[in-house]
Symmetry: C2
Subunit: 146 residues, 2 copies
DNA sequence: CTATTGTGTCAATATGGTTGACCTGGATAA
DNA sequence: TTATCCAGGTCAACCATATTGACACAATAG
């Protein structure tokens, strides 16, 4: 890790910007290290994650969530389907769309991947306290909206 | 933006993970868009940022902060020096080391770049309240430490 | 003198993304 | 029906960003 002065809220929010940067870097590194062992990248993780969170999401929906081109999505998604981690069936009303779901294998890997991040977050929440956790979520919610 | 359910703290912290992901993505996008107009990338921003925050940092120090290889740092750093945004002078005790500093032009660009992120953060803090801001910082501090 | 360290550079390579063009097949409006 | 649109898939060219390895040079430390 890196030496970081404690908050001491100043006007320019420089300290907070650094907190955000280093916190997110450490947060993603946890999963990345597990991913690397399996020859997978962040995209695979995000795909697994979002399909897990939004079962029956379409390819188009995934594209919007991930904010990448369909060409960038296609290869890793196909790979996950070939690995038997993601399944698809044609949509009921519109048979063009694919409804994507995790297989039981896929759910297992997704859980393992997310677990590292969950533990990391959980530990920070526990140390900072429930009130701080609520504040964190409130600010994050505003950032997402804004 | 993307539709996100409100916190409703569950056990698995999935909602919080998404908040983190989308919040950080939106956070960095602000600066990225400005950077793109000048043909610069995130690395340039980080270099400018950290030199601004830690004047007289060495190349080695920068490498540790950014966690990249020196080859990855070299090109953008040289570019910034050629653009007159970053200056260097030999260290006083050890003349091998470069003490990196922003020029007045560099400070101007850095401020402009960081301003977008600052405004974004500030707005979220204002909407969420001072107590939430303290909580956010406390959790982020724990994440950085952890 | 020798070894180590800070910096810079060349080369080869990997990864991950982009845009553009084109295709299939299913849905839908004229 | 025909024309058009849309979801999805794929090929190609390209570009940005990163890596590791090897090497060079200058300066400091022993």
């Amino acid at each position: 890790m890196v030496d970081l002065d404690n908050p001491a809220p100043t006007d320019d929010l420089h300290a907070e910007i650094e907190q955000f940067y280093f916190a997110y870097r450490g947060f993603t590194d946890r999963a990345d290290r597990i991913l690397d062992k399996r020859g997978l990248g962040r995209v695979h993780h995000r795909i697994l994650y979002f399909i897990g969170r939004r079962p029956d999401v379409s390819v188009r929906g995934l594209l919007d969530l991930l904010a990448v081109s369909k060409q960038a999505l296609n290869a890793p998604l196909r790979q996950l389907m070939e690995m038997g981690l993601v399944g698809a069936e044609a949509g009921a009303q519109d048979r063009r769309v694919k409804n994507l779901r995790l297989t039981s294998q896929g759910r297992k890997l997704e859980a393992e991947l997310t677990e590292a991040q969950t533990r990391h977050l959980r530990a920070a929440f526990d140390r900072a306290g429930a009130e701080a956790q609520r504040g964190w979520s409130a600010v994050m919610g505003e950032l997402v909206k804004g």
